[in-house]
């Protein structure tokens, strides 16, 4: 009977809480929810309003406003920084879909500027030159959601504990070689399965091994997936690459240099956007892959030693919780005596 009454409540629903003054903005639920709305979609790197319009018209569910695409950053070298705000504004004015922008790792001031600009999401990205070798941005301080790169479950859950609302594989951006993205997607998937095979006691040790908060690991093992949206990124260049990663269980894909470094960007953009929805249907994929012109030329990851690599950089060293591992010698003496 109470069920019936509840349904009537819904029918007569009136929210009388003073609207936005009492509504909570920028809660984690809303930030992670915005990421959930991009699921099953493709997010494209663009550098001009024209490219942004091509991406929107092709069916991208968001665009990433960049100064240079990763392939150019890789080739030209130099310090890569946040995009010129004027450029980001131009791109935001050109499209109605969400616009994301990148800030350097640990560079919370760039994050604050991007938040003030009103971008829909910030990518704290290893593609730009890191600004802080040890710390990432405390993303709980922001109302705008963040997406962060990860190579394994440990990195992913540490970023989530810092407030990331979305995770993507790091891959090897700007190469056109999808192997690193596959490795990272598989690693995360495998480690979640390992966690699920453990009993509740063993999980504590695994949390220490991964250097992650136990509650996040418990949640992940219960869900059998990351507790936030997980995209693939880094080196995707064809509709088949999209299908491969989607079948490995990611929620959607980022494509950086793969589109605007190919010979026919508008057609390739459409084909890759369609591939995200049709990833399970090889027949449609074969049509989508036909006659797209040359894919980006690319650099195979194993022939890349003269280029800087993103995924081989030393792992982040921050220990975010260490409560049980503290050094007893450093305890205040009089406290230990009493």
């Amino acid at each position: 009977m109470s069920q019936k009454r509840d349904i009537l409540d819904v029918m007569n629903l009136t929210l009388k809480d003073g609207g936005t003054s009492n509504g909570h903005t920028g809660t984690f639920k809303v930030k992670a929810g915005l990421a959930q709305m991009t699921k099953g979609g493709i997010i494209m790197d663009v550098t001009t309003p024209e490219e942004a319009r091509i991406a929107e018209e092709a069916g991208a569910c968001a665009v990433m406003a960049l100064e240079r695409v990763p392939a150019d950053i890789r080739r030209e070298g130099g310090v890569a920084r946040m995009t010129d705000p004027k450029k980001i504004k131009g791109i935001m004015a050109a499209v109605t879909i969400p616009v994301m922008a990148k800030c350097r790792i640990g560079h919370f001031a760039e994050g604050q500027i991007l938040e003030a600009l009103g971008v829909d999401m910030i990518d704290e990205s290893e593609v730009l030159t890191p600004a802080d070798e040890e710390n990432h941005v405390n993303k709980h301080d922001f109302k705008v959601p963040f997406v962060c790169g990860a190579r394994d479950l440990g990195e992913a859950l540490r970023r989530i504990s810092e407030g990331a609302a979305m995770i993507r594989t790091k891959g090897e951006a700007g190469t056109g070689d999808v192997s690193e993205a596959v490795r990272h997607a598989r690693t995360i998937r495998k480690q979640i399965k390992i966690a699920q095979a453990m009993d509740s006691t063993e999980l504590y040790l695994y949390a220490k091994e991964l250097r992650v908060p136990i509650d996040l690991l418990q949640k992940t093992s219960e869900l059998g997936r990351l507790p936030v949206v997980n995209f693939a990124a880094g080196g995707l260049a064809t509709p088949a690459d999209v299908s491969l990663l989607m079948q490995l269980g990611v929620d959607g894909v980022f494509v950086g240099s793969g589109i605007f470094k190919s010979s026919n960007p508008p057609e390739r953009a459409v084909a890759m956007a369609q591939a995200v929805t049709h990833y399970k249907d090889p027949k449609i994929l074969s049509e989508l892959s036909s006659d797209l012109g040359a894919a980006m030329f690319g650099v195979p990851v194993n022939q890349m030693n003269k280029f800087p690599t993103y995924s081989k950089q030393k792992s982040d060293t921050n220990n975010i919780w260490d409560a049980t591992l503290g050094d007893p010698a450093k305890f205040p003496v009089n406290q230990a005596q009493s």
């Binding site: 929210l15 809480d17 003073g18 809303v30 959930q36 709305m37 569910c61 829909d120």
Partner: protein, 204 residues
Amino acid sequence: MPSALPVDSSKKDKLAIGILEVQGAFNEHHVALRKAQKCLNIPDLEIIGVRHPDHISDNMDGLIIPGGESTTISLFLKRNKMDEPLRKWINSKGHVTWGTCAGMILLSKQTENQKIGGQPSNCDTDDIYHGVFIRAPAVVEICSPEVTALATLDRSGSGQTEVIVAVQQGNMLATAFHPELTDDVRWHTHFIEMTCMAKRNSNV
């Protein structure tokens, strides 16, 4: 009012609800529907993932158009020649449709003033119902007497006029917020109920 619950078990054909799986939060709707099914104690509920024009058929009794990017979803529908079959399906008798957020935009006849304000204007509200609004549309004007407003968001506290956030027109339901992102499945149970009722009426 005769109760729609539980579903008449003497009827052999089971309830089938489609979810438009083009882009967006369709898995969340799937999970919420299963939860609602449990609440309502319906033994048989088929959930169909709609990704291809062939998937749109009279076997479906209800259809959910999930939240996502309205631009992306509508382009996909046009490109895959799904827009006309969908429109026909939605307008046929006995078919119940529910659009959340982007789905609401797709069901509406006209939109204006898209996209004002970025992320900070997204909000969580709670009181009678916990609604999650993300880059959400709002109903500015109802242009037809057949449309009834189901829910409004009172913004008098901030000096703004109230906005309509849920509407119904016949067998079409549209909400600006995202019930699929919360644990509260009352909107999903209501939708299943509507679908049951429409199915029974069209079978009589």
